[in-house]
């Protein structure tokens, strides 16, 4: 459980402009939650009116519902310590950012993400919907305050089916719900893992990450909110395998032997459609393979330069289950930031 503790203790030093204040922002937290820490510094300088806090980095308004650590990994190619942000209390950019009415908005955004994760893992969000008010509040406060112990205690009540792996187990195996779809023998076959992938692109190689152009618009970032389907028996499913499913277009060398969690492209076409649910799994794999081949012909030289999860660059050979269990955020999503080099476009 060491890794998870490190993740929760992870923090990024921020330097907030308007005042030379430096604070520590938890990776797993959200920027608007820092309002109470920051207000005292600025209250004397603010004109009368309603305050709605928002932040920008190099002019880019920061999306408040993305965890702080993810924003940092994504937008700061060369990690800046402290991370220089500008805080605003007025002039909320409502056309770019969805409204934030303070802590409540952040809490509900978190709960909705949790529901989504629950749906992905269990096939329904009942366990989150049926949480008692007090449990929900306790869970939220544990996230706000970075209290891992409380978080683990309350979240284990949710019985969210986490990925099993040989290296770590989040809950005791007796209380663990099997996840995913079962075949007729009642064996758990497949499961879905909540993943959010953020891709930023560069058009050339850089010796120094510092020289990389800063992201100046969210339009330049691809956001892929898509679960990764895995087979329980496949103990060798790596981070690399997971990325090949999510962004097959970045793996041009495997064109001929597209394997996604053990299903071959050619085999997939021959599988009889007996079970509808497995049909869907097969279909998705086939579609991945299809997308892969199409995309390869479009941009075969897209190359992954950097992969960051919770501020670290994990080796691609690491079992995906370990990555998920140890590096996921409190919303049960694994947030992955990827930098990819794409060929220069002649026309846009």
């Amino acid at each position: 459980m060491e890794a998870q503790k490190y993740v929760w203790d992870g923090a990024i030093p921020l330097q907030i402009h308007l005042h030379e204040s430096q604070i520590l922002a938890p990776r797993i937290g959200y920027l608007p939650l820092l309002a109470s820490l920051l207000k005292p510094y600025f209250s004397s300088t603010l004109p009368p009116g309603v305050d709605t806090i928002w932040f920008d980095y190099n002019g880019l308004p920061l999306k408040w519902y993305i965890p702080t650590g993810v924003l940092f990994d994504l937008l700061c190619a060369e990690p800046e310590r402290p991370w220089n942000l500008t805080v605003h209390f007025r002039g909320y950019p409502g056309t770019v950012l969805i409204p934030c009415e303070g802590e409540d908005s952040v809490k509900w955004s978190y709960i909705n993400s949790l529901k989504e994760a629950a749906y992905i893992m269990n096939g329904n969000c009942k366990n989150v919907m049926n949480m008692s008010q007090s449990d929900q509040l306790e869970l939220w406060h544990s996230v706000m305050n970075g209290n891992l112990e409380t978080y683990q205690r309350v979240s284990s009540k949710l019985k969210l089916a986490t990925v099993e792996d040989e290296h770590t187990s989040l809950c005791s195996s007796k209380s663990q719900q099997g996840f995913g779809e079962t075949d007729l023998a009642g064996q758990v076959k497949t499961g879905r893992v909540p993943v959010r992938l953020y891709v930023w692109s560069v058009s050339e190689d850089f010796d120094d990450l510092e020289d990389m152009p800063k992201v100046d618009s969210w339009e330049k970032i691809s956001y892929i909110n898509r679960p990764v389907e895995i087979h329980k028996e496949d103990k060798c499913f790596t981070l690399h395998d997971a990325l090949k499913i999510l962004v097959p277009e970045f793996f041009s060398n495997d064109l001929m032997n597209v394997k996604s969690a053990g299903v071959d492209f050619e085999d997939a076409l021959r599988i009889p459609s007996e079970d509808v649910s497995s049909d869907k799994v097969v279909e998705d794999h086939v579609q991945n393979a299809y997308e892969h081949r199409e995309a390869c012909s479009i941009s075969s030289s897209a190359e992954i330069k950097l992969i960051r999860i919770q501020g670290i660059e994990p080796k691609l050979e690491i079992p995906f289950s370990w990555v998920v269990n140890n590096l996921m955020n409190p919303d049960y999503f694994l947030h992955i930031c990827v930098c990819v080099k794409v060929p220069q476009q002649n026309s846009t």
């Binding site: 969805i98 692109s201 909110n225 459609s273 279909e283 997308e291 794409v342 476009q345």
Partner: protein, 230 residues
């Protein structure tokens, strides 16, 4: 041979695309007073040319109206040509459509997008509303124009029924109808059909059936006789 009993009511991304095309065609052939749904392809990455598979359905500049008591027989539709804000009446096509006309004859326009959700594996309705000058409407203003049962539902669960979120493709704030539970009631819809259709037929009718339920939330009703016409 597909077994409806084991189907969970959801679609793969590929099936959504097929179903979307079928829906758009059916919609147009049924001759509604509404403009057609258009498939908008969307690139996965800003630099990648978009394969046709990824995209969403769009129907925009719809004038949703609320009737005054005296004008119960009048209904409204908007032309795709935004210069002509014509209001033709056709009471057989749309019932329950209503006209919102403020004192200064302010008309409200709605854009609807049907977007596929990878998480829930179902279509999701995204919407936004604005005045004729482009000024966006807030949720409380939209609420006033929704059918009464929807606004009641909305006031009960402010955060879970209609939420404001980032449009997955356009990356701007849009309103979205929460899709939790869609798979379940879609399965029920088809299970209740005594004809027990093949999956190809289910797919063809999926979005139309889905929209017949979801559209009602935002005041767009499809007359039942059109649904039964297969």
């Amino acid at each position: 041979m597909m077994d409806l009993l084991h189907w969970d009511g959801t679609l793969s991304a590929k099936d959504f695309r097929i179903g979307a095309v079928a829906f758009a065609q059916k919609w147009e052939s049924l001759n509604f007073a509404f403009p057609p749904w258009v498939w908008v392809p969307c690139p996965k990455h800003p630099w990648l040319a978009s394969p046709e598979e990824e995209g969403y359905l769009s129907m925009e500049k719809i004038c949703i109206s609320r009737l005054n008591e005296e004008d119960i027989d009048q209904t409204t539709q908007i032309d795709t040509d935004e210069e002509e804000a014509s209001c033709s009446g056709n009471k057989d096509v749309i019932d329950d459509a209503t006209l919102v006309q403020r004192n200064h004859h302010e008309l409200h326009y709605y854009d609807f997008h049907i977007v596929y959700s990878n998480t829930f594996r179902v279509p999701v309705l995204y919407l936004r509303a604005y005045c004729s000058d482009g000024q966006p409407l807030q949720l409380d203003e939209i609420e006033k124009e929704l059918p009464t049962c929807s606004s009641k539902e909305l006031s009960k669960s402010k955060w879970t029924f209609i939420t404001q979120e980032e449009h997955p493709h356009l990356k701007r704030p849009w309103y979205k109808l929460h899709p939790c539970g869609t798979g379940e009631w879609m399965k029920l819809l088809f299970l209740n059909d005594t004809a027990q259709p093949k999956f190809e037929v289910v797919l063809e009718l999926y979005l139309l059936s889905w929209f017949s339920v979801v559209g009602q939330v935002v005041g767009l009703r499809i007359p039942f006789k059109m649904l039964n016409d297969r």
